[in-house]
């Protein structure tokens, strides 16, 4: 196994506040690493640094061995880092099929093409991928539905479908079950496990639901006040006294 993503001494300061403090995180090919930590621990900042929504203060981020700190967010996506958002970040006024179609265009055509006079019919490979994406998240029958009219759980599935259409090698999942009913949560967990197995995805999961984290993770990294205070298998992390102290508050698990 080799590291697909490494952060090297990553620091992010907002004014006087250090949101990410010298983080050295390494994600191995094919694993599911969960990032946990109390509110304000810097999880979102770390995700935003990796996706290049934020500019780091210091340090380096390497993806597949190459630094990505000079790239734009869409270039990072083109390299193979996908992201699924905390809220169902979809294109509400477009149909489900069009939602998947956009993702397929980004995947098949790269970040830009000068093809505004070419009919969409001339790209069967894009249509093919659109269909595959819809199949993968089980929304093919709803493809003509306006995305805004889907039930919340289906919106989140569509969201994940959009993130997957570009066939990322690393998927960042920001609280994929936030706001879901228990049934929807269960379905999403199954989807994550299935994705990891079938697509050989590497996943970085940010999640608050400890039950999910401890059941699906290969490894867990615990972030507190911008620093990683523990890292290891679920068992190791669970037993770590500093984690219990800082985050779990001594709750028996």
């Amino acid at each position: 196994m080799s590291a697909i993503l490494e952060t090297d001494g990553l620091v992010k300061e907002f004014g006087g506040l250090t949101a990410t403090d010298d983080v050295n995180l390494s994600i191995e090919q094919g694993e599911l690493l969960s990032l946990i930590g109390p509110n304000g621990a810097g999880k979102s900042t770390l995700i935003n640094l990796i996706t290049r929504m934020l500019e780091e203060t210091e340090g380096d981020i390497r993806f597949e061995g190459e630094s990505i700190t000079d790239l734009e967010p869409h270039e990072v996506v083109q390299r193979g880092i996908g992201k699924s958002f905390q809220t169902a970040s979809i294109f509400p006024d477009l149909s489900v099929e069009e939602n998947a179609n956009i993702a397929s265009l980004g995947a098949e055509h790269g970040d830009f093409r000068f093809n505004f006079l070419v009919h969409r019919n001339s790209y069967p490979e894009v249509e093919q991928r659109t269909l595959e994406t819809l199949e993968a998240v089980g929304l093919r029958d709803q493809r003509n539905t306006r995305a805004a009219d889907l039930p919340y759980g289906d919106k989140r599935r569509l969201e994940i479908g959009i993130a997957l259409a570009s066939e990322p090698s690393l998927l960042l999942m920001d609280e994929p079950t936030a706001g879901m009913s228990p049934e929807e949560t269960q379905a999403t967990v199954e989807l994550i496990e299935q994705l990891q197995e079938e697509l050989d995805l590497t996943i970085l999961l940010v999640e608050h639901d400890m039950e999910i984290v401890f059941s699906v993770s290969d490894r867990i990294a615990v972030l507190n006040r911008g620093s990683i205070i523990a890292e290891g298998t679920p068992d190791e992390v669970q037993g770590d006294p500093s984690v219990q102290e800082a985050y779990l508050g001594g709750v028996e698990l």
Binding site: P73, G82, F85, D93, L94, E97, I102, R113, F116, R120
Partner: protein, 374 residues
């Protein structure tokens, strides 16, 4: 438009057992590009018959009805509005500077006609190229900011260019008098635009000017429709809906926005050149003045943002109020207020504009004829 394409397809493939109703068949036809072209062609070239000849025959007093050159003017503004809607309605970018592209194209075409050749087609090429260059530079700078800042930047550029053309470049542009030396030559060298078309009945086109502008308008709709059916059609709407997500499927959102800006600038350029060809004069107040940037927003919103044909209707309604209602006895002097009232009524009652209203009517009709409800 394009989501309707898919539902039409779904009707064909998904529900084989159900014989398609008249409305479904009509809907399927309507979405083919050739059908869009043919319908636009019919609409454009039947307009004089419907708007001028028929009302005259019915005895409507002439001061209340359209005249031919006004239809030409409305078509020219319609071309402008179709392009503007690609930016406002489909990409979700509100520009307050589109007078720049309409106006610089008008000046370029006019000055070119005075100094090089007055061939209408060459004038359009020169005008449109100028507009595209301006759009590229101004878009490149303005699109670094979003929302209200983008709108203000485009407005600021518009004012800058207006004053530069008004005074420092007055020796070239004619300053506040406008550029008067426009020399329009016959189309293709032998068809004077003002001359009557010999073969076609007078009721339909009358002059070559109408044919020329009418064909340009049809072409504008056809190109606009193709853009909406190209990958840009979904990408631009995706940017309007959720820019961040579009970035996160790996699309270079900024470059697509710039392309939308430049494409709408090109439409404005074609329209601005045609405007000069029609008027044989470049009035600065009707080309580079910031009010033009406002008028195009009003026309597009009146007609219906996010629709292909709506902006044409909006341009028509605006032209009617500004040129016919303004000449009506008693109420004519209040035409600005009437336009304002019409605008408020449309925005409040028909948030999707005139075209949205027509779509609503069509859907009600579809229900009545047993078509698929959508």
């Amino acid at each position: 438009m394009s989501d309707e394409v898919k539902s039409a397809e779904a009707t064909e493939s998904g529900e084989v057992d159900r014989s398609p109703s008249l409305y479904d068949r009509w809907a399927a036809v309507r979405e083919h590009e050739a059908a869009v072209a043919a319908l636009t062609f019919l609409g454009v070239f039947l307009a004089p018959l419907v708007l001028v000849v028929l009302p005259e025959m019915l005895g409507v007093p002439t001061q209340y009805i359209w005249y031919r050159s006004l239809i030409v003017l409305a078509l020219i503004w319609g071309i402008f509005a179709v392009g503007y809607d690609l930016l406002l309605g489909f990409t979700g970018l509100l520009s307050f500077g589109h007078a720049i592209f309409w106006g610089t194209a008008a000046y370029a075409a006019g000055i070119f006609s005075a100094n090089v050749t007055g061939s209408p087609i060459a004038m359009i090429l020169v005008g449109t190229t100028t507009a595209v260059l301006f759009a590229w530079v101004i878009g490149w700078i303005s699109l670094r900011r979003g929302g209200i800042y983008f709108a203000i930047l485009t407005l600021a550029f518009g004012q800058m260019i207006y004053y530069v053309f008004l005074s420092p470049l007055g020796w070239l542009t004619g300053g506040e008098n406008g550029f008067t030396g426009v020399e329009v030559e016959p189309l293709l060298g032998f068809l004077p635009l003002g001359a009557e078309v010999a073969v076609v009945p007078d009721a339909i086109v009358q002059t070559w000017m109408y044919v020329f502008v009418g064909l340009a308008a049809v072409l504008a709709v056809v190109v606009g429709n193709r853009i909406l059916n190209s990958p840009y059609g979904v990408v631009l709407r995706a940017i309007r809906e959720n820019e961040q997500r579009a970035e996160f499927v790996g699309l270079n959102v900024w470059r697509y926005k710039l392309m939308a800006f430049v494409i709408s600038g090109a439409f404005a350029g074609v329209a601005g050149s045609l405007y000069v060809i029609q008027r044989s004069f470049v009035p600065i107040e009707n080309t580079l003045n910031w009010t033009v940037s406002g008028e195009i927003v009003i026309m597009t919103v009146l007609g219906g943002v996010g629709s292909l044909f709506g902006p044409l209707l909006g341009a028509g309604l605006y032209m009617y109020v500004a040129n016919i209602v303004s000449g009506m006895p008693a109420i004519g002097d209040f035409w600005h207020m009437i336009l304002g009232l019409v605008f408020v009524l449309v925005v409040v009652l028909l948030p999707e504009g005139l075209w949205g209203g027509l779509t609503w009517l069509r859907e009600r009709a579809a229900e009545a004829f047993g078509g698929e409800d959508r």
